[in-house]
């Protein structure tokens, strides 16, 4: 990563630089996907093997993200050792400008791959002040983080990419592939081929049993709108909205290497349309704003007069009308303070809902000021128990992890979520500790439970209970059925002090719709309640 010094005297022509950038984007996209796939299986299959090293490696994209790390540090008032990796990006930006955006960022790469050029009938006029939005967003995020709120981190491009990949894109691809396989598997002569293909891709790429995530459409909609905005202007997101882009843009103003347009420029204007972020502008003279330039080299490769170079020197910082200035800072500070204040003063009843079950070891209040909303816990959860909250955890808890036992249970042999969490919002518990960690408590609805309400045989919850002493026991009882037959049935009873609330009973309960045995928060979890 550090080997790319873009000095004009390095011997590469602008065209070669351009090619190199495209390879770099491809390489980092592939790396990102490989890490994503790796993380899905690695943590629960090999929980003990080099967990902290794996965690650092798999979370590299997030750890290199200075916005996430700075905001997280401010909100949680702690500095994680791994977060210092973000300084690499900061230093790189101070040396070379916004190379992160142009060369590495997977979301930026994707936006480059889908320019939606053909959708544009005519160039819409977008006001220049809109570029200031990303700075305001950045400042609001950082000020809110000062007040211990991280809700807006869901705008960070890396977390956007992670979440969407986990919740929407991968499951949808899985469904499509499964659908095609299912159809072809019915054809007798294709069976061995499909069977062989299937054992190649499962369980290494796709899971062997379909995964379920709620609100996949919503998450994808957010992502799709980011891509669709490309139709208005190339990399609309990076130009106007991306808070990380704002942060790197601010740093990029001071960068050593900058795009420079010589006075020999013939004003042919070809670079205007080539520039991904519209960084090349003109008022009296043609210039490139280093705060907007992503060092993509497209302009240099295209310049007929060869007037565009990338010299390394200390340049004067030129303030643009859309850049950070005092008024923007004050507006953001006010907005953040007011917003966080309003959230705090709102006694959100949802946040105290007994169904708001968090991953093992999480303390609700701390989660809100430590979770960066990346959704990695949801990625690695082998049973899909961890889902991302939309309304369940209140406005502050938007896109924080919750456990939904009816979708998945907390596997007795898995502590992957705590292992993968890049910021220890979910504590990294050892397997022994996690097995004893109380998440909630199960309770039986005797009006719906088959043996209790219908005198039918069912012991599924007892059978599934992973606690060695069984936190659900069966009480044998003689009953008289409605047709006057005497019958011995076993009725499940929860032993509350043994139950950890893993939720496998709720997950497997055969009663349709809502389970007849459900996990809810333990009274102990309400200790910080205001009531």
């Amino acid at each position: 990563m550090a080997d790319k010094s873009e000095t004009p005297r390095s011997g590469l022509s602008p065209e070669q630089w351009l090619k190199l950038r495209k390879y770099s984007q491809l390489l980092f996209m592939i790396l990102f996907l490989v890490f994503f796939l790796w993380s899905r299986r690695e943590f629960y299959l090999f929980p003990a093997a080099g967990a902290s090293l794996k965690q650092e490696l798999i979370n590299l994209p997030l750890k290199l993200d200075p916005l996430v790390m700075l905001a997280q540090g401010l909100a949680s008032r702690t500095i994680l050792a791994g977060s210092l990796l973000a300084l690499i990006t900061v230093i790189l930006t101070l040396l070379l400008g916004r190379v992160w955006c142009g060369w590495f960022c997977p979301l930026g790469t994707l936006l480059d791959w889908f320019p939606l050029r053909s959708w544009k009938k005519k160039e819409p006029k977008i006001p220049e002040w809109l570029r200031g939005v990303k700075y305001i967003l950045l400042l609001i995020i950082l000020f809110a983080a000062l007040f211990s709120n991280l809700s807006l981190l869901f705008f960070d491009p890396i977390t956007v990419f992670y979440r969407t990949l986990t919740i929407s894109i991968w499951p949808a691809l899985d469904q499509i592939v499964t659908g095609i396989e299912m159809a072809l598997y019915r054809v007798p002569f294709l069976k061995p081929i499909i069977s062989g293909f299937d054992s190649l891709i499962r369980p290494s790429v796709f899971p062997s049993h379909p995964v379920t995530y709620r609100y996949g459409g919503l998450f994808f909609g957010f992502f799709l709108s980011i891509v669709a905005l490309n139709a208005l202007a190339p990399r609309f997101w990076c130009r106007y909205l991306c808070p990380l882009g704002g942060m790197l843009g601010f740093l990029g103003k001071f960068s050593l290497v900058q795009c420079e347009i010589a006075e020999t420029c013939s004003l042919c204007g070809s670079c205007f349309s080539k520039c991904h972020t519209g960084a090349i502008q003109t008022n009296e003279v043609v210039f490139c704003d280093p705060g907007e330039c992503t060092m993509c080299m497209a302009c240099a490769a295209d310049c007929p007069g060869g007037a565009i170079t990338y010299p390394a020197r200390i340049a004067k910082v030129i303030q643009q009308p859309y850049d950070i200035e005092r008024r923007k800072v004050l507006i953001s500070l006010g907005t953040a303070a007011l917003g966080v204040g309003l959230l705090e003063s709102n006694l959100v009843s949802d946040a105290q809902s007994p169904k708001l079950i968090r991953p093992p070891g999480v303390i609700n209040d701390q989660l809100l000021s430590t979770c960066i909303r990346c959704g990695e816990c949801s990625t690695v959860c082998p049973t899909n128990a961890i889902q991302l909250a939309v309304t369940e955890a209140g406005v502050e808890g938007f896109w924080t992890p919750i456990l939904v036992p009816r979708i998945g249970y907390c596997d007795y042999s898995c502590n992957a979520c705590g292992q993968v969490c890049p910021v220890e919002a979910i504590p990294p518990l050892s397997l022994e500790k996690k097995r004893k960690q109380v998440i909630g408590k199960a309770h039986i609805d005797r009006n719906r439970c088959l043996p209790w309400a219908e005198d039918e045989h069912c012991i599924v919850c007892e059978e599934m209970c992973p606690i060695p002493e069984k936190a659900i026991i069966l009480e044998e009882i003689q009953v008289m059925t409605s047709d006057g037959v005497e019958k011995t049935i076993q009725r499940p009873v929860v032993i509350r002090n043994l139950c950890t609330g893993c939720g496998i009973c709720e997950n497997k309960c055969p009663v349709s719709g809502e389970a007849a045995i459900q996990v809810s928060l333990h009274q102990r979890h309400f200790r910080n309640s205001r009531f």
Binding site: R186, M464, P466
Partner: protein, 350 residues
């Protein structure tokens, strides 16, 4: 140009979707045909063994119910009658398996050269290592794999579908993956794709269910359960072990005994080897307490699934009639539950 290419694209799309749909439809047709054909002339190895003339005891119901397929009959030595069930005790797990199978006539009686073999151990959860007796002993599974390969099996696959945790994890945690791979077998993760809606012609309560395709198609299915406690069934043994090859298990519990018998009438185990090296006496099927584990160092082998389960029940101090699925299975003619009617060979290695 743009117009044309779009039309072209749509045309290709329609054609490919159409052909896919066509393939799907022909697939459905063939499936039904195949199904009916496979039902009439299904190769059920255990059947042949039960109706084998050399078998010492056959209850009348068996011969009524089970279609005999003489062309599949293996060539046993006509002079020697094999025991119905063998029990090996007090030895190393692998040695016990080898002795027990050898006394039954050797693995060649069940596995012919070039056969596809599937071994179905009980790997119900991925929580504990084998010492906790929730999952089949790895060395027992490995011994079965070795025997099958020695008998000339083309490929030996080992699979189960745990209810707690994922298969990949359970395979590793149970210790079975390591031993099976050392023995030359292949651990297979079962996936949703291959559960096929299958009719159960002899089923009395369960008329059809989704059964794993590979298990239905394999030449030889060797059922290697561990003997352990279960809340509803009282014990989970070989017949209960077949729950692992179906997709929707929730609906089994309503009438577990009959439905297990129905399932076993369709998915026949060619050979049953009950692992009672360690038995889980309480808090089954998931276990987790070493104090619930009893070391019994016993291996039971039989081609008769009902007989194997009946004998295993006695290890827990129960009678075959105490277990609903044994009663129903015997009634359906899946095997013999009355141990007095069986020729049993006991081998003590201690």
């Amino acid at each position: 140009m743009n117009e044309l290419s779009r039309r072209h694209f749509l045309r290709i799309l329609a054609a490919s979707l159409g052909s896919l749909g066509g393939l799907y439809l022909t697939g459905c047709l063939n499936q039904d045909k195949l199904l009916s054909r496979s039902l009439s002339a299904d190769k059920i190895p255990s059947t042949t063994l039960l109706t084998d003339p050399t078998s010492t005891v056959t209850s009348p119901t068996e011969t009524d119910q089970l279609p005999s397929t003489p062309e599949d009959t293996p060539a046993p030595s006509p002079t020697m009658a094999y025991p119905d069930l063998t029990v090996a005790r007090n030895g190393d797990p692998e040695v016990m398996v080898r002795k027990a199978v050898k006394a039954l006539g050797g693995m060649k009686r069940f596995v012919k050269s070039g056969d596809e073999v599937i071994v179905k151990p009980n790997i119900c959860v991925g929580y504990h290592s084998y010492e906790y007796a929730a999952t089949t002993n790895p060395w027992v599974v490995a011994a079965v794999v070795k025997l099958a390969l020695e008998a000339g099996a083309k490929r030996v696959r080992v699979l189960d579908f745990p209810f707690g945790g994922l298969a990949e994890q359970a395979y590793v945690v149970s210790g079975i993956q390591a031993e099976v791979e050392k023995a030359g077998g292949k651990m297979v993760v079962m996936n949703n794709l291959k559960y096929i809606d299958t009719a159960i012609p002899q089923g009395q309560d369960l008329k059809s269910c989704k059964i794993y395709d590979d298990v239905l198609k394999t030449d030889v299915l060797i059922n290697v359960p561990i003997a352990k406690h279960h809340g509803l069934a009282r014990l989970t043994l070989a017949m209960k072990n077949m729950m692992g090859v179906i997709l929707e298990r929730r609906m089994m519990h309503a009438n577990l005994g009959q439905r297990l018998a129905d399932l076993n009438s369709r998915v026949r185990s060619s050979l049953v080897i009950v692992d009672a090296v360690r038995m889980l006496m309480d808090h089954g099927p998931s276990g987790g307490n070493l104090s619930d584990v009893k070391k019994a160092d016993t291996i039971i082998a039989s081609p008769d699934i009902v007989a194997a389960d009946s004998y295993a029940a006695t290890l827990f101090g129960l009678q075959p009639d105490d277990l609903a699925y044994i009663k129903k299975g015997a009634k359906m003619g899946l095997g013999v539950k009355n141990l007095d009617q069986l020729m049993i060979e006991e081998i003590n290695l201690g």
